[in-house]
């Protein structure tokens, strides 16, 4: 309730400010809503949102799967860890913009380069978290698996993944919020569609209404992903924990 009230205050403040300034550089909520409806009708908004979301999902899936495998290997084997760690440090400290530029220059201005650049930005973060999780795996339960001759799929599903779940959830959360910001940059620099592209062209036209409209649409979608997908998944994964006292 308080959250809704707080949000309402924000909108009121915005309306008042827009009316006071009365400039095309700060459009009011009404103008932005109108643009949202207009672009939804013309299907421009859904199209660009879909392009961006698709890139987010694909890049995220790639980063997550590769990061999981690499992080697990590094957590299990000290040798792999020693070999991989310097690479990881470099990747972690590589600015997103540099990755994007390099990808576009080396691979070309295409979808592959865009996806690869985003995935490469997220990848080291997944590796680090998975590695931590793997190091914390219980040796006791591994012995149980050994004695009872559990198969590898069974071990992964019932023993390893439940223990990694909090780490993966952390990677997922931090990932989903960071990755879409990077996708926008990728689109701004070198894609002919997507929210980033629209924001870029709106910027060059000083079209503030469009910038506001697309930003809000995207924020709304990410909030929906968070509350409809991430939080229920987390709740489900931590069902077994005793209710915190």
């Amino acid at each position: 309730m308080i959250r809704i009230l707080s949000l309402a205050v924000l909108i009121v403040l915005w309306t008042v400010a827009a009316a006071a300034v009365h400039s095309p550089l700060l459009p009011g909520p009404a103008a932005v809503a109108e643009a949202l409806v207009r672009d939804s009708r013309s299907l421009a908004l859904p199209y660009h949102l879909a392009c961006t979301l698709l890139r987010v999902v694909v890049a995220f899936a790639i980063a997550f799967l590769l990061g999981l495998a690499a992080g697990f290997a590094m957590g299990k084997s000290a040798l792999v860890d020693r070999i991989g760690d310097p690479w990881l440090v470099i990747l972690l400290n590589l600015p997103a913009l540099v990755t994007i530029i390099l990808a576009y220059i080396w691979v070309g201005l295409n979808e592959t380069a865009a996806i690869a650049a985003v995935a490469l930005n997220k990848f080291p973060n997944v590796v680090v978290l998975t590695r931590e999780g793997t190091r914390a795996l219980s040796a006791e339960l591994e012995e149980v698996a050994e004695v009872f001759c559990l198969s590898w799929p069974t071990r992964i599903r019932h023993i390893v993944l439940p223990q990694l779940a909090p780490y993966l959830a952390a990677a997922f959360r931090s990932g989903i919020s960071i990755i879409w910001k990077i996708v926008l940059v990728v689109e701004l620099i070198g894609r002919p569609n997507g929210v980033g592209f629209v924001l870029g062209s709106a910027f060059s036209l000083f079209d503030m209404v469009t910038i506001f409209a697309y930003s809000f649409a995207f924020i709304a979608i990410m909030l929906a992903v968070e509350s409809l997908l991430v939080q229920p998944l987390e709740r489900n994964a931590s069902r077994w924990r005793r209710k915190a006292a």
Binding site: E140, L141, E143, V144, E146, V147, F148, C149, L150, S151, T154, H158, I159, P162, R239, W240, R241, R242
Partner: protein, 249 residues
Amino acid sequence: MQVAGAEKLLELRVDSKVYGSAASAPVEVLRDFTLGIAAGSFATLVGPSGCGKTTILRMAAGLDRDFRGERQILRSARVAMVFQEPRLLPWRTVEDNIRIAMHAASMAGDIGEWLDRFDIADQRQKYAGELSLGQARRVAMARAMSIGPDLLLLDEPLVSLDDVVAARLRGELRTIADGGKVGILLATHDLAEAVELSDRLLFLGGKPARVILERRLSIPRSHRDRNTVSALVEEIRAQARSARNDDRS
């Protein structure tokens, strides 16, 4: 000493077991230990805590292969172990904990039977992390039995349980032992428990540990009432004491 005709499930020979770490000097914890387990036999390792019982069980289970000696196990033998801490999967229900083990052993049997036998049917849907220690121990025991083991390794499975539950679990162990198919190796510090259940006692002592006394019990389990057990305990305790003294002198 070997029972004629009975096939050995497990033969363990430990010439020497050394624990060492980078930080401390290596310590030899066990020397010249041999143990054979045949189907239907029930051996117990007795000794104070820290004398190496768990180490031996881990070597018997194949979890610890870092020792000088040899471990031979019948290739088809199915091994189950009840660890000192129950070691259940806290994020799975009681039912699933047992089912996962049964599934891995391709046992198709009814899970309800095991829940009933160990009196945990009411906890069936609970997560293993929500159980009391006594309940968790029973689930661990049910999990081990449910896979139809040929060799059952038990590491102090009855410690810190209340008397009723402990008596019930001892009853279950007796039933399995009387079935004559399963080879059992139990580690305990409770001599009365060992005398009540097993047919061979191995006393461990000294540093590094070795068997200071081996004793066979030929009285059938069904004849071991309370008086017989306590008389035997006294007798064996005296033997063990003198064996320990001989050992020192």
